[in-house]
Point group: D2
Chain length 138, copies 4
């Protein structure tokens, strides 16, 4: 069980979501933030510099980081704000993954980063589906 | 002239926007991030604690902070990602301002914070209008 | 193997450190950032509010978050700056853990958070020892 | 009067510091965070790429950002933790300024950034002096 999942189980769940879906979104965004921070650094160190990839990674890292934070504050979040941020996060992850996949064959760090970003993108989309179900039922 | 404006004038403008609109969005988001961080701290110190206001302030601070960062990377940003984040930022600022306005008469820091958040909300909306014009003209 | 470790193995190691020590510091700081963000939120939701614990958790989250970022940029970091930040991180983790341990018996989230913070504190100290060895040998 | 100063005057001052010294540290760290984020982006866009300067700017931005946050939570901060972070911030600003000054004559954004970083470095040092005075008097 991840640290995020342990923490969610140790707190009252006012959020009404499946804990596994929320924990995966937090874990995946956290992992993508770390991977894209490290990937930007490694890309910057490459002889054959991909400038757009560095910027996409820095952007993805920042957005994933703040998304993991907001998702970790589930006691009294504003669902409208959180939903909007998760949408932005899915887009940032998708953009970063697309850049990294473009040269994943020559840069191993881009392959690892692209995988982390695609996982976070999927987790965000699953969370958006769960939010939409809540909106219908509430 | 603000630091953000000086910096924008010291760099090539690939973004195609009115520099004043972009600088105001950066400055307003930065100021709202600081105000809401300080307001959360001051609210937490109040005898009559407004828990929802603390969370709204922490959320607003995080989203404004990352928005100012992304807007400061205008050389090769992804307009789709940036637009989505600016939309989330406008919502976070609006939510925080609404909470703070609810007790601005008894807490001076909430009055100052609400004003900073409304300014950032307006600046985000003006930037979104500017992005929409670019999309039409490009 | 953690994502941080996979990423470190996918990039050239200019840092001269044992990869396991660096990966553990990144993973532990990342986990403590998430735990203390969630713990601040859960503490704020408690009937019996511990205000100092909320502030200690927010502080710890911010410092751990930026520490994980700097440690993820190992290609060309400034060892003096990184060392200084890791020292601050060890202190922030220790302070947060001490607060959380003070009521870990009544709040499960504080018990989980304290454990995450002590792990990050230890990982920071081990990294500081490794940096000191580098300084002697170089 | 800056937003940070207005906010400090709107809250009880438990910190025991001269409000002007604290407000300047918050404002200077905030301005340096924005300048170094924008400078990293502009440096990355230069034909003659200075890789070390990009990393120094990204590091400085992250450390300044978190320093401004911690300084904005003056109601119940842990002076040991805050002092340690302000020391790290002074070092990060100094390192970034040194890099930027190295090519300030050819890159205007580096000149603006170096100025912002030197201001933040000075403000951190003045705050450290103020903290030391408090420690003696308390």
């Amino acid at each position: 069980m991840s640290d995020a999942a342990r923490m969610l189980l140790a707190t009252p769940s006012h959020h009404g979501l499946d804990t596994a879906v929320l924990a995966e979104a937090i874990d995946a965004a956290t992992a993508a933030a770390q991977a894209s921070t490290a990937c930007a650094d490694a890309c910057l160190d490459e002889y054959n510099l991909q400038r757009d990839c560095v910027t996409a990674c820095l952007t993805c890292a920042d957005v994933c980081d703040v998304t993991a934070r907001l998702l970790s504050r589930s006691a009294r979040w504003d669902r409208t704000v959180v939903t909007s941020l998760v949408e932005a996060c899915a887009k940032a992850c998708s953009a970063c993954a697309t850049h990294c996949e473009g040269h994943a064959d020559t840069a191993k760090h881009c392959a690892v980063c692209a995988e982390a970003c695609r996982r976070a993108e999927r987790a965000c989309q699953q969370l958006l589906t769960a939010f939409a179900s809540l909106a219908v039922s509430s």
